[in-house]
Symmetry: C2
Subunit: 258 residues, 2 copies
């Protein structure tokens, strides 16, 4: 199933994506729900971020090529265990909404295409074998990063959490074969980075098992799994797309603060 | 005014603290509200965390003595600008609830008493002069930290965000004279650290002005302002209290995972 969240009569509603239509539901995928109301053409609705997470987790350095790049740029080392990090919801935008580069940002505002695991059930103390059972499904994230701030700030707050720097969507796909996924990023239609999504340093199950030893995951929590390859600069007027086979395409235009 | 959040007929409700009673309200301090129902003795209600923040900000190194301690322990330097960090809501507990030390934690599980600013209104691009106008009020936090994990992990996730490691409360005080506040921590009734709350490296207004250049604050967001002085280890059976004059006392027992 594909769960979209969209604007319906001025309110946020969940719906099931059926071909090029969306079937509204009463309720949410995190609890009781039933189909309710007329199907609408997907092209006619405004998609929202598929969930506003209670906690917004991010794996950071989790792919070999990206670690080489980060090591060269920031002096970071290859992690020896899955220590999770955080992002912030002020930065979330939906599929189609503009990434707004602040006036004083450098030219180094870059995409990072990522797989996003969406938690469906409260979970603590999961083994690696049972870890994926707490998930509702997967969506796509673009971990937009301003590299000059990433270098000079003490935390990642404005480098990665400036308003509009976290596009997520277009929807949550519940049927996913992790090993078959391929992540690709396109800038203005030109293919850039491309990598096997599940070729991670620490996989989704490994992360969840490690995390739930100490923290309780809640329905709606998201875990961004990191990116691979080299990122390029984006500028006003560009359109960036992150595609993960079997999930969809997350497309966002880029603008600059007036 | 003092805003408490408490359990009423099995649901979370806001109320006004009036002496040793609480007057329930319909609505929340972040929107419309009116008094509704009977006053109850404070001692008879179960307090909840005064707000579950959409984004949970934390200043980190923001007092001179604490920076000396952190520098000695972790090699951290005095920050040259207010770069905000993050904590996570899975770790929040209310006044009176137990801090649970995980089975495999070291003996170095320490308190950090902190002033917490609670955002009342959506805010972006505030000047330092107008920054405090977006706040609803202030509460108290205990930024419980496991020092061995803080030293070896790549992020602060389990050192500071293990379940129950973020006591916050007991309520939100809206009338506060920042310059008059004094923060004190007691362990089993014995006074430990004590410092002038507002003697920060970067004050609340300075942080908010810097943050809102890039991020939109939302009603209910909290900003933990950091701690000063030396922290001591806590163990099962202890009771830790953080008092800030004019706000209240945040008291939590300490237990250990079975």
């Amino acid at each position: 199933m594909r769960w979209a969240r969209f604007e319906l009569n001025g309110r946020a509603s969940y719906g099931l994506v059926e071909g090029d239509h969306v079937q509204p539901v009463a309720g949410t995928p995190f609890g009781e729900w039933q189909k309710q109301g007329e199907r609408r053409p997907l092209a006619a609705v405004r998609l929202l971020v598929p969930v506003v997470p209670p906690t917004f987790y991010a794996a950071g350095l989790n792919y070999v090529e990206h670690i080489k790049e980060a090591a060269a740029m920031l002096g970071l080392k290859k992690p020896d265990k899955p220590d999770i990090g955080y992002r912030a919801i002020n930065a979330l935008i939906a599929h189609g909404e503009p990434i707004v580069i602040p006036r004083d940002a450098s030219a180094e505002v870059q995409y990072e295409g990522e797989l996003v695991a969406v938690v469906g059930k409260r979970a603590k103390h999961l083994s690696e074998a049972e870890a994926l059972s707490c998930l509702l499904g997967f969506t796509i994230g673009n971990d937009v990063s301003e590299r000059s701030w990433q270098k000079i700030d003490r935390t990642l707050w404005r480098a990665k959490n400036t308003d509009t720097f976290k596009p997520m969507g277009p929807w949550i796909e519940t049927e996913v074969d992790l090993d078959k996924l391929v992540t690709g990023v396109r800038l203005n239609g030109r293919p850039c980075v491309r990598f096997d999504t599940n070729k991670m340093l620490f996989g989704v199950a490994r992360y969840i098992a490690a995390m739930t030893r100490y923290v309780t995951l809640q329905p709606g929590d998201v875990i961004w799994m990191g990116t691979d390859g080299e990122s390029e600069d984006m500028k006003a007027g560009d359109v960036v797309e992150v595609e993960i086979s079997g999930i969809g395409v997350l497309r966002n235009p880029v603008t600059r603060e007036a």
